[in-house]
């Protein structure tokens, strides 16, 4: 019995090394080939960022993982499941939360309905009160229509929304875009808290300084491929590479 338990623990630790494993991912919009075999690994419990210029294919990568790009090839493994042929609702219910680039707030739902929209996929999500504590603006405006919020408030709502579901893996597409520095700082804190709670986060960021402070690992994308992997502790030695790729 005891041995079995340790085995399982062993296994989870094994899994921990790669909660999400993307290899040879190709994606197409119609005839335009956008991702050219990108490969990277997101270890369990880490915060990983995808960096890169506009159009490098970061958003497309996230959308491919979520199954939202119809035409995709390669392999995406989540735990021990292969996602490449699943529909996006199946993928989400396996425990992946997605916060899209243009926020995707619903106008016909009020703020609270927006928050309550994604179904719980696993235990351990945040409660409504916790989310309101995190983003007091939302509580104040909870009965107004989702899109009446300011741009920044909408961003908060979009993040808050997936914290409720208990998804283990969160995909955040530019969560700090258009946010006031104080809020960016809050988001930073939220991400740190989530990390402590053992969430795994794949983050797409333009804001390199922000990314640098939260992430354990960065992948730099260029022309639909992952060009470079930079771990947190390598940031300084690889600064010049980063500079050339990102033009910081």
């Amino acid at each position: 019995m005891l041995e079995g338990a340790t085995d399982m623990a062993e296994e989870t630790r094994q899994d921990r090394t790669s909660l999400l494993e993307v290899s040879g991912l190709h994606a197409y919009y119609g005839e335009s080939h956008v991702l050219h075999g990108s490969s990277f690994v997101v270890p369990e419990g880490e915060v990983v960022t995808l960096l890169g210029r506009n159009g490098a294919g970061k958003t497309t990568t996230l959308r491919s993982i979520m199954g939202m790009v119809r035409d995709r090839r390669g392999s995406i493994r989540f735990g021990d499941r292969e996602l490449i042929n699943l529909t996006s609702n199946r993928i989400a219910s396996l425990g992946i939360g997605y916060c899209p680039e243009e926020r995707g707030i619903f106008a016909s739902l009020d703020v609270e309905e927006n928050l309550m929209l994604p179904p719980t996929v696993a235990a351990g999500g945040m409660s409504l009160d916790e989310i309101y504590a995190l983003f007091p603006n939302l509580k104040e405006r909870r009965r107004s229509s989702g899109t009446k919020l300011s741009g920044g408030e909408q961003q908060m709502l979009a993040i808050g929304r997936i914290l409720r579901t208990g998804a283990r893996l969160l995909l955040l597409d530019e969560p700090t875009e258009g946010l006031a520095p104080v809020i960016v700082q809050q988001i930073h804190d939220v991400i740190s808290q989530l990390k402590e709670k053992d969430f795994t986060i794949l983050l797409v960021e333009q804001n390199y300084h922000f990314a640098a402070t939260v992430a354990d690992r960065h992948f730099i994308m260029e022309n639909g491929r992952v060009a470079e992997e930079v771990r947190k502790n390598e940031l300084e030695e690889k600064q010049d590479i980063i500079d050339t790729y990102l033009g910081v």
Binding site: N89, I91, A92, S93, F106, M116, P118, P119, S145
Partner: protein, 296 residues
């Protein structure tokens, strides 16, 4: 004798009552249409044909299977809903990513086919359907003779309408539907099986039309043409109520019934056009309809 606008008050009450009864049909139909437009972004031109199908299902059940009115009231909508779901799955579902005009074209074609098939089978003159035994006869209300069956129509329609309203505006599944209207891709990415939801929504909405059809069978002739022109009027009602507003379509359905009833007294020739006059006025004052909210 006190008269209102040259009409004795009793007559006026009578007309209001009759208006409400007609309004019940409008409400049932416009509700379904509003749900389909709201959820699927499709202008369902087949709605009238499916309403007619509801009446015919009841008639066929009675004449071929000996199934009476009451079971038909459940079975009719189920059959129509099932047909609707098949249509949605096999055809409409392929059009959601296109302009909603394509849905209009498709459902227009479907309406022609459904109507044509029934016409070839049963002719255009229609066939009779008796009022169920328990509801025959009527009440003398003093100001008018109210057939029992008509009273039942109002009650049943109001209950069904508000049940639907509650389902959509106050339940979780309703919030999925509303969200899917705006961005179904994203709602799917939250783990909700949107295609299934759409199928159910369409099935449910046309089942409402089927229900209206069964309710109508004993009052009107069961005829292949019964749903032909009503669709355009009902769509006007949805617009007056405000697109996307469930409550709006219910209240407006009833209201238009009453206003049309009054027109039949004061200017009967105009009773078919009054709904459009009303729509023009409402849209001039409230561009998004009575209950609609502006959408971004």
């Amino acid at each position: 004798m006190t008269e209102l606008l040259g009409i004795p008050p009793q007559v006026l009450f009578g007309q209001v009552m009759l208006g409400l009864i007609n309004g019940s049909f409008y409400a049932l139909l416009s509700l379904g249409l509003a749900v389909i437009f709201g959820m699927l972004n499709v202008i369902n031109f087949a709605h009238g044909a499916l309403y007619m199908m509801g009446a015919f299902v009841a008639w066929m059940m009675l004449n071929y299977l000996g199934i009476g009115y009451w079971p038909s009231l459940i079975l009719g909508p189920l059959v129509v809903g099932a047909v609707g779901m098949v249509l949605e799955r096999t055809m409409l579902a392929r059009l959601y990513h296109l302009d909603h005009l394509y849905g209009l074209l498709l459902t227009f074609g479907l309406a022609l086919i459904i109507q044509g098939l029934f016409r070839n089978a049963y002719g255009v003159s229609g066939t009779p359907y008796p009022i169920p035994e328990v509801l025959s006869g009527g009440q003398n209300l003093g100001f008018m003779f109210l057939p029992n069956y008509r009273a039942w129509v109002v009650v049943a329609a109001v209950i069904v309408c508000f049940g639907t309203w509650f389902l959509i505006e106050r339940t979780r599944i309703g919030s999925y539907l509303r969200a899917a209207v705006e961005n179904q891709e994203l709602v799917r990415a939250f783990g909700i099986n949107v295609p299934l939801l759409m199928t159910l929504a369409y099935g449910g909405a046309v089942a409402l039309a089927g229900f209206a059809g069964v309710m109508a069978a004993p009052i009107y002739q069961v005829s292949p043409l019964m749903g032909q022109d009503i669709i355009i009027k009902v769509f006007a009602i949805v617009v007056i109520g405000g697109l996307g507003s469930i409550l709006g379509s219910i209240v407006t359905g009833l209201g238009v019934g009453v206003i049309e009833g009054m027109t039949k007294v004061f200017y009967p020739e105009g009773s078919n056009v009054v709904v459009f006059v009303l729509m023009a006025i409402v849209l001039a004052i409230r561009p998004h309809g009575l209950f609609g909210r502006p959408r971004t």
